[in-house]
Symmetry: C2
């Protein structure tokens, strides 16, 4: 064996120890909730519907007709006609968000008492369900840097944009919802500092274990935290190439503050074991390349008021079925924000979506059933995602046109459920966009055939694909809910 | 240590043994040259210039004006205006090839007498320097599948497109020249068969070592072979995570048919050593993400007859400086081909380009100085490439506007040169497009500062980035010339 053991490695980089530590020195969870409630009260925001046609600062014009900010900045809502030869539905029209610029989603991390902590922010957005959500240290659009809306500078932004201010642990371009955004990507970053940074009231330090506890609650941890945490290398395969059963035991005994067992142990085995994978990476790339070559997707611009199946009024743009989403306008009063009043466009979502992974032990090691997803706003024709991801999931349960594997998530046996919570998507663009996030571990004897669109992968393979930008935000954000600190009795422990 | 040694691994997958085997059982090299000359005689092709305006099957029209095949298939030549805030030249106009469809470049491989062989083809293209070149088993555009030009089916194509006909060892989408093609990608494949396949006169079996010998000659191995071979995992890091010095010795003693030493040994160390890298993969991704976020590139369509700096006549489109390339028409007579006569567009290149890698031992292990390249037709804003890549290199040697590191390649000391040959680019699109391919290993005491555009990487890191599509064709095709079978006396051995 070469160099450090897995246990030593995990101590050195601190990620794994942080993941296993539910109680950090930053804030105990009861204190967290007091602080969070205080922030909810301190950051009031009043959001009211305004007709699209009378939205201050926005205009509906152009050829083809679209809805855009008068400054040419922020984003626009455009119509597209989609034609594809893949999947059950071969063509549709829809509005889509066009936001070309790349923003920064960043978290500052620091060792406190030998345990890695993350600097989190309580932040309110107009589309949030219940006021403030736990947000990254920084959420900055390029408009923030260039000060389009004339507000004060964002605190901590310099740690992410000024070279040398912090050590970079994660820096990846990752895509956002390809069903809602046209090729939108953000820069996902985690940077490390040695010393304390000035701590504003709206910020607090939490361990990874604490954040995972909070992910068990509905709608507390925002979308941007999830996408960043999904990029975090729990076991860095560059620095630490492999581990076997014996080292797993080491890990529990030496690095972890609590024994790892149950599902968390299955996750760790799936991260470190490199020989039990059902498919080699070569086979997985062959599968994905085949899909990317075999199918086509064509987008054509369409006027926003002439989308088939959609109706545009002075108030909103909505689907005639009542499903999917509506484009609405809101007036926002936010005394605590950089800019205290504005009006903007949001995509409103009724009902609940489902974002679910099916997992199962294959060759004795936990595998994830990964789906190749084609969405009109994808950067690549096919990207990897969770087993099922569908808005208005309840409409499809048990129906002949239900997406593959959806029905496994309809009232599954309790002993299959490894994670189940409602999470909401970015409140700066989406109004009440809620998805039920569910992780199911099926018994080994349940047979699942892999259709053309799905392949089993170990967590190690998944993590490597995430790093190189293959995974979509639905897949990444569900992976962020995987919890190495979960214990048999964890639900009663907080 | 777990599982098989590097030596056993290399025997099992056969790549390394093939790389180390200059004489296979397929064809000895003297026999190869006899066969190759016979093929040159058997596949005559007559290529004559024809004015663009009178090219059969092609038309110049549309808004903006472009040159395209009347069928709407094959490819078109379009004008673009490029504006960027990166690099010394911030804007220019140029013609570019628009060919949306993805083709297959594929090689069949098979163990013969325990040594892996590759099924190569002698194939003539109108833009080739000297008739036939050594080509992959299959070079098929989507037009080939769908039979646009009405020719006979390609032999062996079914091994690449029919599931189950062969085991897939490599299957990756890889880009082509971003300075000449608009977002063109091809599917690069290597597939394995167990039994013999019927052997047409135009085909022969060669080991990797033999192909590397042929790459020491000018203009014999075509571009498509190089791009495929660059994707070949010499040491599969999935299956075989690491090796140390001792195992390297093992390798020479047990798997290799000849001892590995000199530069080949340096290459192997750079492939298997995972701890001596100057930068971690995290640091390299941070560097690349920073570039992709910091700079912009905008393309706008321009009429082909109104490109600044270019002149369009009935004959051709050419740059006023005489540099870069010209768009020309040719008439082709090829009795041995599927279609015996046609006319087509080619990009004609005068002079020589340079494609060079600077290498150096850093931390005791060979590193490659990799450049982040922005070309207008890139799929990603920045892709990775060789240290220097420039057409008309001789014009720039010693000039103030020479690209960074170019002058290192101007009459370098002989003891630095690890590879030096003239290779030509795809003769189906380019007429006499020759580049001098050079690998230089600088002494350890030569100091090289990394500019914003360049980073040192080990061969292991390079290979991993190639696999996930980060490397451009200039970088990949030069990497394909790296030769594990090279020995001190190799130049006299053939």
């Amino acid at each position: 064996m070469i160099g450090a053991s897995l246990a030593e490695q995990s101590t050195r980089d601190g990620f794994l120890r942080s993941a296993l530590t539910a109680n950090g020195r930053g804030l105990a969870l009861p204190d967290f909730f007091s602080w969070f409630e205080a922030q909810r009260a301190a950051q009031p925001m009043k959001v009211q519907r305004v007709p699209l046609a009378s939205l201050d600062g926005w205009q509906i014009d152009g050829t083809p007709l679209r809805l855009a900010h008068r400054s040419g900045k922020f984003f626009s809502i455009e119509g597209i006609r989609v034609v594809t030869d893949f999947g059950a539905v071969r063509g549709w029209d829809q509005p889509i968000i066009n936001q070309k610029e790349i923003g920064v989603l960043g978290i500052i991390t620091r060792l406190i008492g030998g345990v890695r902590h993350f600097l989190m922010q309580a932040k309110v957005e107009p589309g949030n369900i219940d006021g403030v959500q736990l947000s990254p240290t920084v959420q900055a659009t390029r408009s923030n840097f260039t000060r389009v809306h004339g507000g004060a500078g964002q605190p901590y932004l310099e740690y992410f944009v000024s070279p040398g201010r912090a050590r970079v642990l994660v820096d990846q371009l990752q895509g956002e919802q390809g069903s809602r955004f046209l090729r939108k990507r953000n820069r996902n970053m985690i940077v490390e500092v040695d010393d304390g940074v000035p701590l504003d009231d709206r910020f607090c330090w939490l361990t990874l274990g604490q954040i995972k506890r909070l992910l068990e609650c509905d709608n507390i941890v925002n979308m941007d935290v999830r996408t960043i945490l999904a990029c975090l290398p729990l076991v860095d395969s560059d620095a630490f190439p492999f581990a076997d059963g014996d080292e797993m035991e080491d890990l529990a005994g030496r690095a972890a503050v609590a024994p790892v067992h149950g599902f968390a142990r299955e996750l760790l085995r799936s991260l470190v074991n490199r020989r039990a994978a059902l498919h080699t990476t070569t086979e997985l790339l062959h599968w994905l390349t085949g899909l990317r070559v075999r199918y086509t997707l064509d987008l054509a611009p369409q006027p926003l008021d002439a989308l088939r199946g959609w109706t545009m009024t002075a108030d909103e743009v909505s689907h005639d079925s009542g499903l999917y989403f509506s484009v609405i306008g809101v007036d926002v009063d936010a005394p605590g924000r950089e800019v205290a009043h504005w009006q903007q466009v949001l995509l409103e979502h009724g009902g609940f979506g489902l974002n679910g992974f099916v997992m199962k032990r294959v060759n004795g090691v936990l595998h994830f059933l990964v789906r190749a997803c084609m969405y009109p706003g994808n950067h690549e024709l096919f990207e990897l995602g969770s087993t099922v991801s569908r808005s208005n999931a309840d409409v499809y349960f048990g129906k002949p046109n239900a997406p593959r594997f959806l029905d496994l998530f309809h009232e599954p046996p309790a002993e299959w459920v490894r994670y189940d919570a409602v999470q909401s998507e970015e409140g700066g663009r989406f109004f009440h966009y809620q998805n039920r996030y569910t992780l199911l571990e099926l018994p080994e004897d349940v047979q699942i055939e892999e259709p053309e669109s799905h392949r089993w992968m170990t967590l190690r393979q998944v993590q490597n694909f995430v790093r190189h930008g293959y995974f979509n935000i639905e897949g990444r954000n569900l992976l962020a809910c995987l919890d190495l600190s979960a214990r048999e009795d964890s639900h009663g422990a907080v």
